[in-house]
């Protein structure tokens, strides 16, 4: 155990945990931020994706010690302010099916849009290829991301 300071969604938390604990379990069990999901535990499905200093990471494979000092953003934080373009686009394109992979998909999309203002279809597909949706909503996810990108460019 050791005392660690984490910055999550703009708030600073001090926790006493094993520094090797995956960030996912700290977010879920300690902070009750349950949007990020356990899907595989080995960084393959993307359901646990959160942002660390704007970079998408698989929180099931990121030890909490690696997260110290970084600005951590989860879906709860991203959509805390009403009217995020990704939220509107997701609703507009009617993306959600079972919804379990969605928080991870959206966080991964948020990273892409933070990096690339005008992504092409292949940019989107390549960036999103590590986030599994077994309901098969990929075509809608793609449309939603392109739509949000357009809105963010004020087109």
């Amino acid at each position: 155990m050791s005392l660690l300071e984490l910055r999550v969604n703009g708030r600073v938390h001090s926790i006493d945990r094993d520094p090797d604990t995956p960030l996912l379990w700290i977010l879920r069990d300690q902070f009750n931020l349950t949007a990020a999901k356990y899907g595989c535990g080995i960084g393959e499905c993307g359901a646990c994706t959160v942002l660390m200093d704007g970079v998408a990471v698989r929180s099931c494979m990121t030890s909490v010690s690696e997260a110290v000092g970084a600005k951590i953003l989860t879906l709860e934080g991203l959509f805390a302010v009403e009217g995020h373009p990704l939220r509107r686009a997701w609703l507009g394109e009617e993306v959600s099916q079972c919804g379990f992979c969605q928080p991870g998909q959206i966080m991964n999309a948020a990273e892409l849009l933070g990096r690339v203002a005008d992504p092409s279809t292949s940019d989107v597909r390549a960036a999103m290829s590590g986030n599994i949706c077994r309901c098969g909503s990929y075509p809608r996810i793609e449309k939603a991301i392109l739509r949000a990108a357009k809105e963010m460019r004020h087109e």
Partner: protein, 747 residues
């Protein structure tokens, strides 16, 4: 019944009622729930595929810190049995284990770590027995039978006319041997449940599941509690695809026994690895078939033998086998048909329900035969289907004369027309010379709901409570796990009452609210819940009629308020069951299902001549859904089904070695990603059925059924040789290329 001439809500696009909650991450899935005082469960799994259990020693595990209960088969208070149809499966293995991963004992502890440590401390001795691993070996079971009753778990036959006569009448006969592979559901949310002891001695179960009434029955059986003291509430469920039909019952029953033994809530959550290892898959099939036709392409006979691997227990093999058999010869009007379908026991994790229940396998069989025949006759694959597809007044392969709602031909014409335009835009990305292109088509028939074999549980309830402000609470017994059914239910309730959908609030599915509505499977939800809602709404309208007469043209809100003040009973329960079916189960003759959905899908592919890789460029999916209550939902279902069908056809190779599963994660089992799933064009065909609510028919399973067959046909056209096995592996494609006369060295 106050049905307006033109529907106001049904047929309009609706955003899912839970979309906002899902977007905010606020929907609480099972792993997101925390209960005070909750214990964590873990299971001891058999390391061997077939063995006698010589001893099981639980004492050392019981002595470990944090361990509250360690239970073996002797500690189950009720029956040590599980399962829906055939009574061959224990809740915890007793006497013998029959597959790697079969649970032998279970633990409840203060933490998940303590539970795992206790499992590791359980002592046991096993004596290994000879095992049967696949369909190649099933005939050898006489040595050491997996079950005393014999090697075949289920056997279904279908006979129409005389195939001997039919083949004698044929000018051309084609034959094929076909193979389809296993498929893992990989719902994103692994299996999980929480069992909580109630204050009055009963149990409340929360779970990620499809069939709360199955859970209620199996928990009651294992615990010895009456069903009335077992309440099951479905939590929002992160995907299921059939994998959460019967499977959750066993986890819920184990958690329930542990909760009763400890007097505390018990949570059982599977890791992804455990889920891969110990839950059901799609049955692999071996199909041998013959098709006869006249020179002008009219089918005279089809004969199909399907052998399926059941795994160690029968579980849901009966409905899979029934459906595969009934639909084994496809959506064609053929005078002479013979189908025989058997499921064989092996020492593998039981195969069970997976979207389509044997239909995608059956479809791969009949559609490959049809394409072979088209090739043999030099006929266009669309034309040969056009000649033989069922029409109104035609007879299905079980001899069921169809008087209405046969959209088969329209789906074919529209998919063929749309796909004829090709996918030029996508093709432009593939460099000249290296890639070969092909288009394929596949048609299917899908019997709605459970059919004759499951008729005894093909009823469903609904409950509508009208409030004084004109809003409505609505409960049904069938579940949502991503299909969008709740939104459709909301729309249908609104339409039936003449109000806006946002005035209808849906309750979670809870066995305490609605009578046993059977399982949420076989694309039953919209048809069954819709009809039950119409039944309940009719009762409300009848009770409101005198007031409506008295008050004249007032708003629904005012009418409800007035009715409330007059003590009118504003709660109504509805019920609907599938009409009686005249069907001979032994011969497979008659009305197998009350209604049928139809579809044709077309696929355009590019095949890499150097590597043998296949890329699907576009899929056109034309589905006869009777009535598209929510067209947005129809499109989402189609896209998802096609994506899963694409995976089954191309990427999802489920590797095993003996009794061990090698596919344990996404590195060893490849799901389609954003890169592989192409543009999918949904074409909605509406041939309403008189018994469907607003004419609606089943959709959720049909969407996956023809995809693999269409892709196989497209690859066959591209390479000039016929695909006979899925998943279509690159090395297989290279062989086919050689057979098709393509020399990759010439590139």
């Amino acid at each position: 019944m106050n049905r307006k001439s033109k529907p106001q809500t049904v047929g309009r696009r609706h955003i899912r009622e839970d979309a906002e909650a899902k977007l905010k991450g606020r929907l609480r899935f099972l792993p997101d729930l925390r209960l005070d005082d909750m214990l964590h469960a873990a299971q001891l799994s058999s390391p061997l595929p077939h063995a006698r259990i010589l001893s099981l020693d639980l004492e050392a595990a019981r002595a470990l810190p944090g361990v509250v209960a360690v239970l073996g088969p002797e500690d189950i208070p009720g029956e040590n049995r599980i399962g829906v149809i055939i009574d061959d499966q224990p809740l915890l293995a007793q006497g013998k284990v029959r597959y790697v991963g079969e649970p032998m004992a279970m633990v409840a502890a203060e933490s998940a770590e303590a539970a795992r440590a206790a499992v590791a401390a359980i002592g046991f001795e096993l004596e290994e027995l000879p095992a049967i691993f696949d369909l190649d070996q099933v005939e050898a079971q006489a040595n050491e039978p997996i079950h005393e009753e014999g090697p075949i778990a289920v056997h279904q036959k279908l006979r129409k006319g005389s195939v001997e006569r039919g083949f004698a009448d044929a000018d051309v006969v084609v034959e094929a041997e076909l193979v389809t592979g296993l498929q893992e559901h990989y719902y994103l949310e692994p299996q999980g449940c929480i069992a909580t002891p109630g204050e009055s001695g009963g149990l409340v179960i929360h779970g990620s599941l499809q069939c709360p009434f199955y859970v209620q029955r199996d928990v009651s059986r294992a615990t010895g509690l009456p069903q009335s003291r077992v309440r099951v509430i479905q939590t929002p469920t992160g995907g299921a695809f059939g994998g959460k039909e019967d499977i959750p019952s066993e986890f819920c029953a184990r958690a329930a026994v542990l909760a009763l033994a400890t007097g505390r809530p018990v949570r059982l959550l599977l890791s992804r690895d455990e889920d891969f290892l110990s839950t059901s898959k799609r049955h692999p099939f071996r199909i041998r078939g013959r098709l006869g036709a006249t020179k002008d392409g009219r089918f005279t006979a089809m004969e199909v033998y399907q052998d399926a691997e059941a795994g160690a227990y029968a579980t849901l093999s009966p409905p899979v086998i029934y459906r595969a058999c009934i639909q084994g010869a496809g959506p064609y009007d053929i005078p002479n048909v013979k189908v025989e379908t058997r499921a064989w026991y092996t020492n593998q994790v039981p195969n069970g329900a997976f979207r389509g229940f044997g239909s995608p396998q059956a479809c791969f069989g009949h559609e490959r035969l049809v394409d072979l025949m088209a090739a043999e006759l030099g006929m266009d694959p669309v034309e040969i289907r056009r000649i033989n597809l069922l029409r109104e007044g035609g007879e299905t392969c079980t001899g069921h004369k169809l008087d209405e709602s046969v959209g088969a031909l329209e789906t074919l014409e529209r998919a063929a027309e749309a796909s004829a335009k090709g996918a030029a835009e996508e093709e432009a990305h593939f460099e000249d010379g290296r890639w070969l292109f092909g288009t394929g088509h596949a048609a299917m028939i899908y019997g709605n709901c459970l059919g004759k074999a499951g008729w005894h549980m093909d009823g469903a309830g609904a409950y509508l409570q009208l409030h004084a402000d004109g809003s409505v609470s609505c409960a049904t017994g069938l579940t949502e796990f991503g299909q969008g059914a709740r939104t459709v239910v909301q729309q249908m309730a609104a339409e039936a009452l003449g109000i806006e959908p946002d005035q209808v609030s849906l309750m979670p599915v809870d066995t305490a609210l609605v009578p046993d509505s059977g399982p949420t499977v076989a694309s039953r939800n919209v048809v069954m819940s819709g009809n039950a809602i119409l039944n309940a709404a009719a009762k409300l309208h009848e009770r409101l009629a005198p007031l409506r007469e008295e008050l004249g043209d007032v708003s629904f809100r005012k009418l409800a308020g007035a009715a409330y003040k007059r003590n009118v009973n504003l709660a109504a329960e509805g019920w609907w069951h599938v009409p009686e079916l005249d069907f001979d189960l032994k011969k497979g003759r008659g009305e197998a299902y009350f209604a049928y959905s139809f579809a044709t899908q077309s696929a355009r592919v590019a095949v890499d001549r150097i590597t043998g890789n296949v890329r699907v460029l576009k899929v056109w999916a034309a589905h006869d859904v009777g009535c598209a209550v929510n067209p947005a939902g129809v499109e989402a279902q189609v896209e998802g089904g096609v994506a899963q069908g694409l995976g089954w056809a191309l990427t999802e190779r489920f590797a095993r070695e003996g009794g061990n599963i090698l596919a344990r994660n996404l590195s060893t089992y490849h799901l389609p990603t954003a890169i592989e799933v192409p543009e999918i064009e949904t074409i909605i065909v509406e041939e309403p059925h008189s018994q469907g609510p607003f004419g609606a028919k089943s959709l959720g399973e049909p969407v996956i059924i023809p995809t693999a067959a269409a892709i196989a046909a497209a690859v066959s056209e591209a390479v000039g040789a016929q695909v006979s096995e899925i998943p279509i592996r690159p090395e297989h494609v290279l062989e086919l290329l050689e057979r098709g006369g393509h020399d990759s060295n010439a590139l």
